[in-house]
């Protein structure tokens, strides 16, 4: 495993020029000199990998490790990172395809990707069904007769399964992939519009976000309620990611480099940290102005509250400033597991959801306790790393027999992945 291999997984240039590791040669690769396309970087993989690990830990029951996830220290959490980076990489990969091969080809490839994500979602749903059916048949503690009402949907599997296929019935912790599917479905339109005028597209996205808030638009769910992540609101992050990938980041570089931005971001993050602390230390809440509380709460995750969005922006601004693209740490072996996971995010995301299910199952069937809990979290992360490595190996070695163009398309697909 060298850094060159990771580059192979993520760039469009393919294995040939990846041998010459580093960012310079990649910029010189002919494919990337297309206008309006920034170069893909390992920082994205690093943070997407991190987001995947955090999402996995957040899906397990609360434990000591949960304290290391960023949602405890501010408004936004791993989901924001995941969606933003997904928008960025998807625009990077398919935007280039759109410029090179035209709208139809790019759309076709995006749809194939959507299909893959959809199949992954259905696969996870199957595992969920197995788990819930097991609990329904083996667990008859009279203390919990009421909670077993959750099994009622098993009485109508016809309706439930069809609703699940329509993405309207989504069990707990299975909300991210449907959101991602809808966002990817909109991607051809987003890219087509970005090709025309990126700033107008971003503006339209902001308008849609505002309209969603103003008129309370939502996607309905089965049997009732709505989607836990409203795509009409979350598209803002996705489109913003795409906008950054297609040159927005470069144009913003002066703003990002200014000390004013830095200090505003720091001030905002500190303020958010303080507010978060008042949730955990009730004594502090006396120091919070009532007026501010009324204005601020609830901080809505479903509709991507502005406070969450700005919190993410502040985090991103500081990250970009203090973690330069050519930061030597990116090639450190310690970060390699994260980068590897980030490069195969759809697979690793699904694996994470599955491992969270499995973790719950082990905690229930074998034993609970903090030691077991820590063990599950740790082995979950190790498994994610190992599987990411195996997938890389497939791409690098097992699939190498294909022609060069074919493998280039394949790796582009992976890079665009969720």
């Amino acid at each position: 495993m060298t850094i060159a291999d990771q580059v192979t997984g993520s760039t469009i240039a393919g294995p040939a020029d990846a041998k010459s590791a580093g960012t310079r040669p990649r910029a010189a690769a002919p494919a990337i000199t297309l206008p309006a396309i920034g170069e893909r970087e390992l920082r994205l993989d690093l943070f997407r990998g991190l987001a995947l690990w955090l999402i996995f830990i957040d899906h397990l029951p609360t434990s000591l490790l949960t304290w290391f996830t960023i949602r405890n220290y501010g408004f936004s959490d791993a989901t924001e990172i995941f969606i933003f980076i997904s928008g960025y990489t998807a625009a990077f990969v398919y935007g280039r395809a759109m410029l090179e091969s035209g709208v139809v080809i790019a759309t076709a490839r995006i749809l194939r990707r959507v299909w893959q994500i959809y199949v992954a979602h259905v696969f996870l749903f199957t595992i969920f069904l197995a788990e819930i059916s097991y609990v329904a048949t083996s667990f008859e503690n009279p203390l919990y007769t009421e909670e077993m009402g959750i099994m009622d949907f098993l009485k109508q599997p016809d309706v439930t399964i069809v609703q699940a296929l329509l993405l309207r019935f989504r069990p707990v912790n299975m909300d991210v992939l449907p959101l991602y599917i809808v966002l990817m479905l909109a991607l051809p339109l987003i890219l087509w519009s970005m090709k025309w005028k990126p700033d107008v597209t971003l503006g339209l996205s902001v308008v849609l976000y505002a309209v969603t808030w103003e008129y309370d638009l939502y996607f309905s769910a089965y049997p009732n309620g709505f989607w836990a992540f409203n795509p009409l609101a979350w598209q803002l992050l996705f489109v913003f990611g795409a906008w950054c990938a297609l040159g927005g980041a470069r144009r913003m570089s002066r703003i990002l480099a200014s000390p004013v931005t830095m200090w505003i971001s720091i001030a905002y993050l500190v303020a958010a940290f303080y507010v978060t602390m008042t949730w955990y230390v009730p004594q502090l809440s006396h120091l919070m102005p009532k007026r501010l509380e009324q204005w601020m709460y609830p901080i809505d995750k479903t509709d991507l509250d502005v406070l969450r969005f700005t919190h993410f922006l502040a985090l991103a601004a500081l990250t970009v400033r203090f973690l330069p693209r050519d930061w030597p740490g990116l090639s450190s072996p310690w970060l390699r597991p994260l980068i590897l996971c980030g490069q195969h995010s759809l697979e690793i995301f699904c694996l994470g959801v599955f491992l969270a299910f499995a973790g719950h199952f082990v905690l229930a069937e074998v034993s609970g306790g903090p030691v077991m809990h820590a063990l599950i979290s740790l082995s979950g992360i190790l498994i994610m790393w190992a599987v990411a490595w195996v997938i890389s190996w497939y791409k690098r070695v097992a699939d190498k027999s294909g022609s060069k163009t074919k493998s280039a398309i394949g790796s582009a697909d992976m890079a665009g992945g969720g």
Binding site: L143, Y144, E146, E147, N224, P282, F357
Partner: protein, 259 residues
């Protein structure tokens, strides 16, 4: 997601905040409770008060308590061991012998908070309780009712109960580790906490209490046992905790820890 951490943290930090006097107050009051029922005092601490209960007891009037609940209010086929019955027994032990305590139970099986709340006006006219313990949230969580709608229904329900002249205690969901991956409790727990605060109503945190028992190993709530023993023990402890909670919130204890 935030709500879940938030809740656990509030509870965690409550440990530092809880007045130490409370522990002393609980100890000498009653015949010894089973060790399994032990709870850190902060889980039973509340700043809201039950004025009407206090007045009724001071005036020597009978204490009429109505528990509005759902299927988890009872144990199938062992109603006498369910927490409302246990609470009545403990209250009778702890309150002056002259005090008449009567607990009645209104089970609203498979009803959401909104559906239950529509029945409150009639129910209150019929029963005229001093104190209503409204246990809710499970059905809403199972059906994934919009948390905002849930909060609206809670607000309406609590207002209806208060307007009818009763003190109110809100009781939240059971901690059910087996179904944790299937039922998303945090939004409902969080909203119940908010509504309780807004209306200055004590919240009996059944979820945190049962989780404490499970985490400390007092009860194994993962147990797949079909027998009623575990349910009986848990309900006994819940009844005791609830009785203590009522006494504390109405400031009826032998020592008054509040300032």
């Amino acid at each position: 997601m935030k709500a879940k951490v938030l809740l656990s943290l509030i509870l965690l930090c409550g440990g530092f905040a809880a007045p130490p006097a409370r522990a002393d107050a609980a100890a000498p009051a009653v015949p010894v409770a089973p060790a399994a029922c032990e709870l850190p005092p902060y889980l039973l601490a509340t700043e809201s008060q039950l004025h009407k209960v206090a007045d009724a007891v001071k005036a020597g009037k009978p204490l009429e308590i109505l528990v509005i609940g759902s299927r988890s209010t009872t144990i199938p086929a062992s109603e006498d061991s369910s927490y409302p019955a246990r609470m009545q027994a403990i209250l009778k032990e702890k309150l002056p012998p002259s005090e008449a305590v009567h607990v009645s139970v209104e089970i609203q099986s498979k009803k959401t908070a909104e559906e239950a709340a529509t029945t409150f006006v009639k129910l209150m006219e019929a029963k005229r309780p001093t104190l209503v313990i409204w246990q809710t949230g499970t059905v809403d969580a199972i059906r994934a009712i919009d948390p905002d709608e849930f909060r609206g229904a809670l607000t309406e329900g609590v207002a209806a109960l208060q307007n009818a002249g009763a003190d109110v205690i809100l009781m939240n969901l059971q901690y059910s580790p087996r179904t944790e991956t299937m039922i998303s409790a945090p939004p409902y727990l969080d909203n119940m906490r908010v509504v309780a605060q807004e209306h200055d109503v004590p919240l009996f945190d059944r979820f945190a209490i049962m989780r404490q028992w499970n985490d400390q190993g007092q009860f194994d709530l993962f147990s797949p046992s079909r027998g009623p023993e575990l349910a009986k023990q848990v309900h006994d402890c819940l009844g005791r905790a609830l009785a203590q909670f009522v006494i504390d919130a109405a400031h009826l204890g032998p020592v008054q820890p509040q300032n």
